[in-house]
């Protein structure tokens, strides 16, 4: 027998079932491209050599793991889907007298061709888009673009191995199925009679309870800390509820619609309701999965985009200066800077003490839990001059007030311990010590006349807090002429060494490097979120496509009968559209509702991570944008799928 017969047969098989095979090859190619890109970022040494690049590499390695595992599951799922459609074809071969080893040859050839196509496609896309992805990542983590760009060999090897592994596994599963089955079984599989689904009221009830419980938790728990504890259990409740309501709830609703005879006995409703009733039985779990996957994508998008845009703002506020420290003595640090020869462009220095307390009206209480928690920064008139460059004369017992959020002091006086300060005005301080933004509670500045006043306050505070009391320290903040991240990091190390080698207490942090680390961290998160979001989204779309197309073949017979009985082509098409629409958009709409329900809880949790001010509008904008992009891609897939479906059915 001609040795090319089986490969040729395999090729013609692939061509014949292109409706299933083409998306499979695209999915495989897409997975390879994605793995190459993420793998390149995870394994590329160039990134490791950059400042804070190790963190990005680590995040990407995590992402690589997720994409890899998810990819395997997903490719196996599609493979089993395609094979199920082909059982009859294989059965026919068997009846025609093809031996099992010949069938195995055909299957191997098919897999070989598909695999080569996936690899070629995936590597082309990966290499092409890799550079772009790299640039996007660098932009997100705000790092300069290095010259040159090389192909990452380890990533190439990795994704090729992955594809090989997945395809061999799929092939083994397919071979096992074919070699075990007998021809008659193959021929008639997939033609079993379907029973009408029953309404399972218990499941409906369980679904309502769990879903309601999850929603209520998200709405009613207001404390961010408690929310972090209950968010995950609440999400699990909503997932259970979604499964129950999609499976049992949909059947209950459709049956109720069917009982309403006036509604039911109309052409469109008649076909759609009974069609959906059966479709739900087979697909409810799938649709629920799609819904949950979509919700996860949306939540992930909102979180990462919000974090990134919130944090990039916060980082600028948190680290206004290149270096900022609070030291008992600034001399060693100053000396280190001087020795390095780096020019200081801007410099602030003032004495300050910072401590927490509770405000009860106009009295600051230190040894109680009643009242509003707040953080106080106290500086002297001299410190004021150092900060603003203006001189200030305060009479004994007078003080200036300022708050982080800019609100005014509503009382004529402020009492701390046994001292009553007369508030004579407010001031706007340039904030050089960004720690003030690290506090969740309101933060206030107070200017007192002399260092003696500062010491008095320090003593009051000492009495109340004992070992936990703060000391008066000198805040020293500078901007240097240094620009390169490596040079800055070096300077930071020498300053910190100098402090450690002296008996000075306190700390100094480098805004420039911390900011860069923050960008690397949240930019890396965002990139990962976008990547995983894209992967899950495309996976969702493909699942829907496969479901719809395979149902197209089941529905063909039904719509053929309907046309014979007197339904026009146009009516058939309208009915198809409304059915496909329902199946498609039910998960999307539910995902939207879930996300909206989770939104208040998410904003509360994000506000812990974001620094200071309220950013609900920002989160809402992120959410809407994420939902918009998501829907757009979803609608595109819908259009494609609806066309393929109509072509099969019509």
């Amino acid at each position: 027998m001609n040795k090319w017969l089986y490969p040729r047969l395999a090729l013609s098989n692939l061509r014949k079932s292109r409706r299933f095979v083409v998306p499979y090859i695209l999915a495989g190619g897409g997975a390879v491209a994605m793995l190459y890109i993420v793998g390149m970022l995870a394994m590329d040494n160039g990134l490791d050599n950059m400042f804070a690049g190790y963190w990005v590499s680590m995040l990407m390695a995590m992402g690589l793991g997720v994409v890899m595992v998810f990819g395997v599951i997903f490719m196996l799922y599609i493979n089993s889907f395609i094979q199920r459609q082909r059982l009859k074809e294989l059965g026919l071969y068997a009846v025609l007298g093809m031996e099992k080893r010949h069938m195995a040859l055909v299957l191997v050839s098919e897999m070989l061709f598909s695999g080569l196509a996936m690899l070629a496609l995936g590597l082309a896309a990966g290499l092409g888009l890799g550079k772009l992805a790299f640039l996007v990542l660098l932009k997100l983590i705000q790092m300069p673009v290095p010259l040159g760009f090389t192909v990452s060999v380890p990533a190439l090897v990795f994704c090729t191995e992955w594809l090989f592994g997945v395809l061999v596994l799929s092939l083994l599963l397919n071979l096992r199925r074919v070699l075990r089955a007998d021809p008659i079984q193959l021929l008639y599989q997939g033609q079993k009679g379907e029973r009408e689904p029953r309404t399972r009221w218990l499941l409906v009830l369980l679904g309502l309870l769990t879903m309601g419980g999850g929603y209520a938790t998200a709405w009613l728990v207001t404390s961010p800390v408690a929310l972090i504890l209950v968010f995950f259990p609440a999400a699990v409740l909503v997932i259970i509820g979604t499964y129950c309501l999609f499976t049992a709830g949909s059947v209950a609703v459709l049956k109720a619609l069917r009982r309403d005879r006036r509604y039911y006995y109309q052409p469109r409703h008649f076909i759609t309701v009974s069609g959906l009733l059966y479709r739900m039985k087979q697909n409810a779990a799938g649709l629920a999965s799609i819904c949950i996957l979509s919700t996860m994508v949306l939540v992930m998008m909102i979180c990462t985009v919000s974090l990134y845009s919130g944090v990039s703002q916060s980082l600028a506020m948190r680290y206004p200066m290149q270096f900022c420290g609070s030291l008992s003595d600034t001399a060693p640090a100053k000396q280190a800077v001087a020795e390095s020869g780096v020019q200081i462009l801007r410099q602030y220095e003032y004495e300050s003490i910072s401590f927490a307390g509770q405000l009860v009206d106009d009295v600051l209480v230190l040894d109680s839990t009643a009242g509003t928690a707040c953080q106080f920064y106290v500086v002297t008139a001299e410190g004021y001059a150092g900060l603003t460059g203006k001189t200030l004369t305060l009479e004994p017992g007078q003080a200036l007030f300022s708050s982080r959020e800019g609100e005014a002091w509503n009382w004529p006086t402020l009492t701390i311990g046994n001292t009553r300060w007369e508030i004579v005005g407010s001031w706007q301080a340039p904030i050089v010590d960004g720690r003030i933004y690290a506090y969740m509670v309101p933060a206030y500045y107070l200017v007192v006349p002399t260092r003696a006043d500062l010491e008095a306050i320090a003593q009051i505070q000492q009495k109340a807090y004992g070992d936990h009391a703060s000391e008066i320290a000198t805040v020293w903040a500078i901007d240097t002429a240094c620009t390169g991240m490596a040079d800055i990091a070096e300077l930071k190390a020498s300053i910190q060494d100098a402090i450690q080698n002296s008996d000075v207490s306190g700390w100094i942090d480098c805004g420039a490097t911390d900011r860069q680390e923050g960008y690397a961290m949240y930019g890396g998160f965002l990139f990962l979120g976008l990547t995983l979001g894209l992967v899950f989204l495309l996976a969702t779309a493909l699942i829907i496509y496969y479901k719809q197309v395979s149902e197209g073949y089941d529905d063909r017979q039904r719509f053929h009968i309907l046309q014979q009985v007197g339904m026009s082509r146009k009516e058939v098409q309208a009915t198809i559209r409304s059915q496909v629409l329902t199946v498609f958009f039910l998960p999307l709409i539910t995902a939207g509702i879930h996300t909206a329900a989770a939104f208040p809880a998410m904003t509360r949790m994000l506000s812990v991570l974001g620094i200071g001010t309220n950013r609900v509008t920002l989160y809402a904008a992120c959410g809407l944008a994420a939902f918009g992009v998501f829907s757009l891609i979803y609608v595109a897939v819908y259009a494609l799928t609806a066309r393929a479906y109509a072509r099969i059915v019509g």
């Binding site: 009679g193 379907e194 029973r195 009408e196 005879r261 006036r262 006995y265 109309q266 052409p267 008649f270 009974s274 069609g275 009733l277 059966y278 039904r558 009968i561 309907l562 046309q563 014979q564 009985v565 007197g566 339904m567 026009s568 082509r569 146009k570 009516e571």
Partner: protein
């Protein structure tokens, strides 16, 4: 008055490769009177299914025309065809063609629903029809829960509920056992006695022997016809068998 007039019907198919012409119908003319019960007999490939498809407006003739109540079905606008089928014709198929996801009741009501008939009218038409078909206890069952004969009776119900001018049946007993087939043919006799015009395509002598007139078709031509007049089905059965033997023997046109 003729309900159906078929004039010089011709249908030619072109094979996909090579452009060979296959003549499915070469020149068929006949007419069916109101209240008649006509069977068209022929072997596989004789052109009877092509003929039925053209009568059913599911296919178009190459030349010639079909008049239903004097209206040329070839001139009906494509968008109106489905409505025309729904309002004027009833179909019974060999393999029932019921929809699995509808109860028997909904299968029968299907054409009425498609025609936007009010629920009140459905309620008026269904019970007597279901009773005459012996389905009144089965209406809430689904096709996979009932026997072949019951399925085919449901299909007859679906065909008759619109009160069509013409009931077209394509090998209606083909998938039934003899008992169910007899049952179905008795139902056809009954509806015909009530005035329903029936046109059936079959190669079962037994089924054809119930008709009032049998047309024989061979190689795309009308070959012969028999009238039952006042003979019993059993006598008719004999005559049909004789005719079929004669045709099979390859004799010339005999009459």
């Amino acid at each position: 008055m003729s309900i159906l007039q078929v004039e010089n019907l011709k249908k030619t198919y072109t094979t996909r490769f090579g452009g060979n012409l296959v003549q499915a119908l070469s020149d068929v003319s006949f007419s069916v009177e109101e209240g008649e019960y006509v069977a068209i007999m022929g072997e596989s490939g004789s052109g009877k299914t092509t003929l039925l498809n053209i009568l059913a407006t599911l296919d178009k003739p190459t030349s010639g025309r079909v008049l239903l109540d004097g209206q040329d079905t070839g001139h009906i606008h494509a968008g109106q065809l489905a409505a025309f089928r729904r309002d004027h014709l009833g179909f019974v198929f060999q393999d029932f063609n019921l929809l699995d996801n509808f109860s028997l009741r909904d299968n029968i009501l299907l054409p009425l629903v498609l025609a936007n008939t009010p629920v009140r009218e459905m309620d008026r038409r269904l019970p007597p029809l279901a009773e005459s078909l012996g389905l009144e206890k089965l209406l809430d069952k689904f096709p996979y829960e009932v026997s072949g004969g019951q399925k085919q009776r449901t299909a007859v119900g679906r065909a008759l509920i619109t009160r069509p001018r013409l009931l077209l049946a394509d090998e209606p007993t083909g998938a039934l056992d003899s008992h169910a087939a007899d049952n179905l043919l008795r139902i056809f006799d009954e509806v015909n006695q009530l005035g329903q015009t029936v046109l059936m395509v079959t190669h079962s002598t037994r089924a054809a022997s119930h008709a009032k007139r049998v047309l024989f078709i061979k190689d795309g031509r009308l070959y012969h016809q028999l009238y039952r007049a006042d003979q019993t089905p059993e006598q008719m059965f004999g005559r049909i068998s004789d005719t079929l033997s004669a045709i099979a023997a390859g004799g010339g046109r005999y009459e």
